[in-house]
């Protein structure tokens, strides 16, 4: 497994996924994208293949071609090429949608810059509850959507996932923050947004600040659980394994 490949998969399937929330929870971006009707495909040779679709103010990100016919196809000749683009250090090769180039360089890049703004913390931003709320939501999404990729390609996460047991794990932030879940099947791990009925295990974070510190590794799990800031229930070995797998993300996304 190449390090670049896994980083590319995380970028394509877990980081870009946050565009979905960006156009809902950032007012400015919601307004900016409300009339967009376009499907962009990110095709990486020997790497991930993802779509980003916009329709009536909604954004959907996923694997493969998506439901809409792609109006733009961006080609990357390697996972490293794609990762460089995600770092703002390379450009894609458009293979379809030359007429949309202006859209890509002007409008779409406004959106991706805003995404970057929400993903890169600094001391000032961490003091802004609104920023913290969306950053936390995005960190949670990135975390959960990274798991299937790690389980497949990271050697340690691969061993861990093989002992994970079956069932769903729900993760949520109180009092009314985002909820996500992961369902571990025999051969796959499926992430999803929202609540899940009768999970095998559950992890709940007390509020956005706790969740932000916890998900970003600034709050030790054992301490946070002991004080009740983070609560876990059910099949704890699943939560333990998940937590060890999440710790692997930092090796690939910095």
């Amino acid at each position: 497994m190449s390090h670049e490949l896994l980083t590319a998969r995380l970028n394509a399937y877990a980081v870009l996924k946050n565009l979905e929330d960006l156009v809902v929870h950032d007012r400015e971006m919601a307004l900016f994208t409300k009339d967009w009707n376009i499907a962009i495909r990110f095709f990486v040779l020997n790497g991930p293949d993802a779509f980003v679709e916009f329709d009536s103010g909604k954004c959907r990100v996923g694997k493969g071609g998506g439901e809409k016919k792609s109006s733009v196809i961006l080609f990357f000749h390697s996972p490293a090429h794609f990762n460089k683009m995600m770092d703002g250090k390379a450009s894609p090769v458009p293979v379809k949608g030359f007429t949309k180039l202006r859209f890509l360089t002007k409008e779409f890049s406004v959106l991706t810059e805003k995404l970057e703004y929400y993903l890169k913390p600094n001391a000032d931003l961490l003091a802004d509850p609104k920023w913290v709320a969306l950053n936390t939501r995005m960190t949670l999404t990135t975390a959960v959507w990274s798991i299937p990729e790690l389980a497949e390609l990271d050697p340690v996460a691969n061993i861990l996932s093989s002992h994970m047991g079956k069932g769903s794990i729900s993760l949520g932030i109180l009092p009314d923050g985002p909820k996500v879940n992961l369902t571990v099947n025999k051969d796959s791990i499926v992430p999803a947004k929202g609540e899940i009925k009768a999970p095998a295990a559950a992890m709940t974070m007390k509020d956005m600040t706790v969740a932000n510190d916890f998900l970003n590794g600034r709050l030790d799990a054992f301490t946070a659980i002991a004080t009740g800031d983070v609560s876990i229930r059910g099949q704890i070995p699943m939560v333990d394994t998940l937590s060890l797998m999440l710790d692997r993300i930092a090796l690939y996304l910095s």
Binding site: A157, A200, A221, F222, T223, I225, A226, I232, I236, T241
Partner: protein, 414 residues
Amino acid sequence: MDIYRFDKSQELFQRAAKVIPCGIYGHMSPAPLIPPTSYPFYAVRSKGSKFYDIDGNEFIDYMCAYGPMVLGYNHEKVDRAAAEQYGEANCVTAPSPVMVDLAEYLVDLIPGTDWAFFAKNGNDATIYALMAARAATGRKKIIMISGGYHGVSPWAQTPGHHGLIEEDYQNCIRIPWNDIAAFQKAVDENSGQIAGFIATPYHHPNFADNEFPKEGYWQTISEICKKEGIVLIADDVRCGFRLDMKGSSNYFGFTPDLICFCKAIGNGYPISALMGTEALKQVVSKIFYTGSYWFSAAPMAAALATLKELKKIDGPSIMHETGTKLLKGLEEIAKGHGYDLKTSGHPSMPYLRITDDESLMLHQDWCAECTRRGAYFTSHHNWFVSTAHTQEDLDRTFDIADDAFKALKEKYQK
């Protein structure tokens, strides 16, 4: 029934978290106690089967310090033996004669063993056993059981945990419990490379029902080990002296090459032992292995007193009987409330699980409700019974369990 509060525990923990990693780390970390806010974090006093927390709450203790307490806390005879030895000599430039007395006593007690080596923790004994197996065979690989626990050395930890490198577990092969075919397959696939097989006498994993060996399991394993020149290591750290004074291998009818003891051996005084056969004495003699406190004499005196007392009163029978009564009582109470409480493992260190909810959440809630009423139950780990638990303790425990089930019903019917 009074419901306990843990304000002072939480307060002290806040202080702890500032200066101690995790606040409380390792197996004493409150994290797997679900929810931790229903459990005491700090004990200030203990006596017999009970301990008292920093908030002044009293608990009938079914964890027994995770195994070391076996005769009851602050046991007079054991404490006196230790105090007398402390008065004479403890950690000195040369060991005390009590070391020889203890080794002789153990060698007489445990069938098939010819020597005893002392250290502090169970981990010290399991590492030494692993080194001995490698030294004896000149081979690298160790077979162990998935879900088995042998301490915190890197080889004994499961892959993926922090601080480990791939090489740490490269030579460890994990197979399922009670699966002779898997053992034979591991041996065949690594012909001439297996140094040892380490396992607990019966399987007592966390978060899962505990399992006794199948009929003939240990006997077949022993035969294969003999045939293949594999060192058979019994990790009796947790079960030792709770099932059988002659060691749990005696209980299950097999004779290992090496046996690791800790926990119950000293009733709370820090000491562990590796014991083995004459054939391995020369081998272990060549391994350099020691520690600053491994010759402390007071824990040795305490261990001698503990073993003598356990033997005199037939501790394992008492614990078997008490454990059996405890389990029977709890199963009936659960049934009365419409729940199925499944018990597994040996009655002296049983694992319990309410089967009505596979996620264990119901079971976790019940254990927490019991603890908040004074019966300290964990939901993830096998419990421990001691010879100090009385009928009165059991009766009180039954009242608590009953009240906790009522609370549970209320909560889940809402």
